[in-house]
């Protein structure tokens, strides 16, 4: 079975079901050991489950890379109020397309992860917040969930354990910002999806004012494997601080784009040249965005020697984010692509904070002006000055994310900006 491309260098734990239409079915999931980890978790007790996930070193796969077990341990141990688990399936970061695949090919793997996590944090209600566009994806999840209820794997007295956990699929309304965990909470509450000031942190005051944990889809799908096999087992892949496997979403100018599950620490150039079959049409590599549109761009030269784990990518001056690797070849119009990304942030700014609301809109206008040959060298200084004011000054990091590609592209591809500016000046003189 081939999904649509596979590589023999992959370690397919989470992505085993990709491309296999039978994998969605409850009977097939149970047959390959599904829901055994849930049973085991109930035998271990919540704190032992948290300890096992801590021992695995599993880090949040939504972008920030915060250790999942540590996050769970922030939840109160003796619930006096309802606790909530929120699964973040609002996958919207440009370049990221893993959660949709995880849900639609192997929905029970996610449901089992959600149930184990909810049990560990002592939540009786979990929501899976799917982005609103995921109608087909959420239909698969809803059907699988219905089967899980019918089979006694969800709802009241799960597997005869006395544990009650309800899971609800919730669809968003089309807003990138709802992938930010506090905006996601507001959105579930029926509010505008605007991020909240932290503290208080979600573990203290979360959705509906109650203690809440938010985890990404990929994080939760790793949990059944860790509980079933142990934290130490999971550490056989990856590096000391970036443990386990990760789905790498590769898009752009490679021969075989797609999702590849690889051990963290995998060499970036091997991903491009070997796993993805090299550059399309034999073109030369120009640049890579390793973690989705919100992180600084690497030049081709900077990519050499970079390994794809959280620490190595950071040492290279950017971030692994959700490992959404966007590949650009020699013909890429860098200014246009940066402008398109900034247009996106301008559209998606929630409008709460002035540096973001005004900054993203003005950046988009200035970049458009430069792209159209009406820019000046001064515009680049303005963009850099704006970027400084947009970084670290707002409630969430959307504004910082918009600034990242602008700053890195001006620093690394200034020639392209200047060529457009000079061409415009010459045309003006003529």
């Amino acid at each position: 079975m081939a999904y649509p491309y596979v590589s023999d260098r992959e370690v397919r734990l989470l992505s085993k079901g990709f491309g296999d239409p039978k994998a969605r079915r409850l009977d097939a999931y149970v047959e390959r050991g599904g829901y055994q980890a849930l049973r085991k978790a109930f035998g271990m007790g919540p704190d032992a489950v948290i300890d096992e996930v801590k021992a695995s070193g599993l880090r949040g796969r939504g972008g920030a890379g915060f250790p999942a077990g540590v996050k769970w341990s922030f939840m109160p141990k003796e619930p006096t109020r309802p606790h909530y688990l929120l699964c973040n399936a609002d996958e919207s970061e440009p370049g990221t397309f893993k959660d949709r695949e995880l849900i639609r090919w192997d929905p029970h793997q996610l449901i089992e992860g959600v149930l184990i996590a909810a049990y560990a944090i002592r939540a009786k209600q979990a929501y899976v917040y799917c982005r609103g566009e995921f109608f087909e994806t959420s239909s698969v999840l809803a059907k699988a969930l219905e089967d899980a209820y019918a089979g006694g794997y969800a709802g009241k007295d799960i597997l005869g354990s006395g544990v009650d956990i309800d899971v609800t699929v919730h669809l968003g309304g089309g807003a990138y910002i709802c992938g930010e965990e506090t905006a996601l909470m507001n959105s579930i509450e029926g509010r505008r999806g605007q991020p909240r000031v932290k503290p208080p942190f979600p573990a203290a005051v979360g959705v509906f004012g109650m203690p809440t944990t938010v985890n990404n889809v990929e994080t939760l799908t790793a949990v059944p494997h860790i509980v079933a096999n142990g934290g130490a087992w999971y550490r056989q892949w990856g590096t000391e601080k970036s443990t386990g496997t990760k789905l790498f979403c590769v898009s752009g100018h490679v021969n075989k784009p797609g999702n590849y599950e690889l051990p963290l620490g995998f060499p970036l150039m091997d991903l491009i040249e070997d796993v993805c079959g090299g550059m399309r049409n034999g073109k030369a590599l120009k640049a890579v965005i390793p973690g989705g549109s919100s992180v600084p761009i690497l030049t081709a030269a900077e990519c050499r020697g970079v390994n794809l784990d959280y620490e190595s990518v950071q040492a290279a001056g950017t971030m692994l984010g959700c490992a959404s690797v966007i590949i650009m070849d020699q013909d890429t119009h860098m200014v246009k692509q940066v402008r398109r990304m900034v247009d996106f942030y301008a559209h998606e700014s929630c409008g709460q904070c002035t540096p973001c609301r005004e900054g993203t809109a003005w950046m988009a206008k200035i970049l458009r002006r430069i792209e159209d040959g009406r820019g000046t060298a001064e515009d680049l200084d303005t963009l850099l000055a704006m970027s400084r004011q947009m970084t670290g000054t707002t409630i969430c990091v959307l504004s910082d994310s918009a600034a990242a590609p602008v700053v890195s592209s001006i620093n690394k591809f200034k020639d392209e900006y200047m060529a457009l500016i000079r061409r415009g000046e010459r045309a003006g003189v003529a």
Binding site: E91, F97, E133, V169, A175, S251, G258, S293
Partner: protein
């Protein structure tokens, strides 16, 4: 479905070592016919936001939709929590969410009309005005853009003879640019009503448009 020859049925349509049917890829054969009344309450909030058939004058809610609305209410600790799924359901029935619809939703949930307007206008997927039978959303964000999404957008506008956001004279098509649809490995990604079309090239567009025209009954939605 119509008999128009139709390439590119969805995910990885014609790339890679793809050897599955469209129904297997999309999961249609697994999901089957979705119950209009919402099925199990856990999935009642997971319904389409856009169907080809639109009934702007329909009552909020009656019959199966009322049953689904009641199921949705059971999944949230207060009625405000049900706001987004209720707006989605209203749009599914009427095709767009007019100011009057927002007010009716407010009344159903016991919320202030101004509050509901504030929320509904925040989210891009609630159409503030009527759209065509087929809402075509073309991702032009970076990953698709690198692979020619602007040309796909242009082709949809040309073959439907519309401007961005305008509805074609026959009432069939509204074409808009979309932000990243999370199909970046399969560019260009296009959402038409509730369905994803992937690996779309400008050459595929006339076929898709003809396919939709022949499918006025709306099963493609």
């Amino acid at each position: 479905m119509s008999g128009v020859p139709f390439k590119n049925p969805g995910w990885a349509g014609n790339t890679g070592e793809f050897d599955l049917t469209e129904a297997q890829v999309r999961g249609d054969e697994f999901v089957g016919e979705r119950p209009k009344a919402g099925g199990h309450p856990s999935g009642a909030s997971s319904y389409p936001y856009m169907l080809a058939e639109k009934r702007p004058e329909a009552k909020l809610f009656e019959g199966d939709c009322q049953a689904r609305f009641e199921k949705i209410l059971t999944r949230y600790p207060n009625r405000q929590g049900a706001l987004l799924p209720t707006l989605a359901l209203a749009q599914e029935v009427r095709g767009h969410v007019s100011p009057e619809t927002m007010d009716e939703v407010a009344a159903l949930l016991g919320l202030a009309p101004a509050y509901v307007r504030g929320v509904a206008t925040f989210y891009t997927m609630y159409n503030k005005r009527p759209v065509g039978r087929f809402l075509v959303q073309v991702c032009t964000n970076i990953s698709c853009n690198l692979c020619g999404a602007d040309d796909v957008m242009e082709a949809f506008l040309r073959y439907t003879d519309t401007e961005p956001g305008e509805t074609s004279e026959d009432g069939l098509f509204t074409v808009i640019e979309a932000e990243c649809l999370a199909g970046c490995g399969f560019p260009t990604c296009v959402q038409i009503n509730s369905r994803y079309y992937e690996n779309v090239t400008p050459a595929d567009v006339p076929g898709i448009v003809e396919h939709l025209k022949a499918d006025r009954a709306g099963s493609a939605g």
